[in-house]
Symmetry: C2
Amino acid sequence: MKQEDTKQRILDKALELFSTQGYDSVSVGEIAKAVGIKAPSLYNHFPSKQAIFDAIVESTAAQYEADTDKINIHVQNAQKDIPVFTEITENALFEKVQQIFEYSLHNEAISRFRRMMTIEQFRSPELATLYSKRYVERILNYHADIFRTLIASGEICAENPDALAMMYVAPVVTLIGVCDRQPEREHECLDKLQNHVRLFFRMVHGSSSQRGESRE
Amino acid sequence: MKQEDTKQRILDKALELFSTQGYDSVSVGEIAKAVGIKAPSLYNHFPSKQAIFDAIVESTAAQYEADTDKINIHVQNAQKDIPVFTEITENALFEKVQQIFEYSLHNEAISRFRRMMTIEQFRSPELATLYSKRYVERILNYHADIFRTLIASGEICAENPDALAMMYVAPVVTLIGVCDRQPEREHECLDKLQNHVRLFFRMVHGSSSQRGESRE
DNA sequence: GTCTATATCCAGATAGAC
DNA sequence: GTCTATCTGGATATAGAC
């Protein structure tokens, strides 16, 4: 029991260190010290430093699914969330995005894992693929699915759900990146996020709320 | 003369190595070997490994301005480029974006520097700020400036030039990130870039080319 | 499982010959 | 400016006592 506890503590502290300094800059001695043991003891739980890194990648994947489920995002099954987006108001949409935004930034494991992946994404083709899948494709596909349905039902107007998803998602990802680098700018980024969501909402809900009619 | 040549070769090779492995994973021995000298000789040109890194950051900044000028982007003076964007066609806009996109990916120094910055962005607040300035703010402000003018002249229709710039720029940045990680996906990303530019173009040029009229 | 002691290796950097 | 030889420190990992 206590041994599993130590194992988890090693993963936690290692992620904490890897996410700010990167894999190579962190020594097993540092990790051990953070855990409260000596470096050699660490090898009773993991056969190598690389094994710690791999275990972090493994275990965080599981947590992600579980946690996103809790706030009602089913990344792997967008159809489930269609009702949430149907006839959603501008304010409700922003609140939803804000919730994900703040969750992504403030959940320690998720936030640290993302920063670690950002630093280590070029280490191997596998990590590169994992990064793209997790932080680009998955989010894009999820929203493209939602938008495709909303377009079909005539609720929003657009031609290309994939391009629309890109336009909707990329700014959010960009703003998360800014906050990862400069957490003190979170408030400013939330403002920009709101402006983005507003613009997007009005854009897809046709020309009724646009100024298009009155120009020229 | 030859000594300045060696100094530059050190910077080039160091950037090449840093951009794929990261600062800490590269030894001065590796850099020296790539240059064709022994490690101690390297200290005749730079006082420390860190000094090499700093020199790269310094020197690449200058190159960026010079090179972007060559393809007619004046990042620090958007007003100069207003004529380029005025009454631009959809295809011409895409070609322009494609040009910057491919330049950013294929210019070795620019591309490697961006990847190095991506890896090292959390090393210090200074690097974090530099990253945000160079890869977010500067591009956003440039386009917001352009859009502000085009909105004022009535050529495009939108309310918030900053949010519009975010929507336009963030997908491009995201796609460049994908290609940095997975260069084999460049073709696919160019397709997505085109779809993005098309959607954006039609969006800001009012409802005339949208399906908005005929829905429901 | 934890520790101390140790093995092995390689890092960044310097001294001084040529 | 380049080299060989070397210093010093710290890395990952193992051996073996408790």
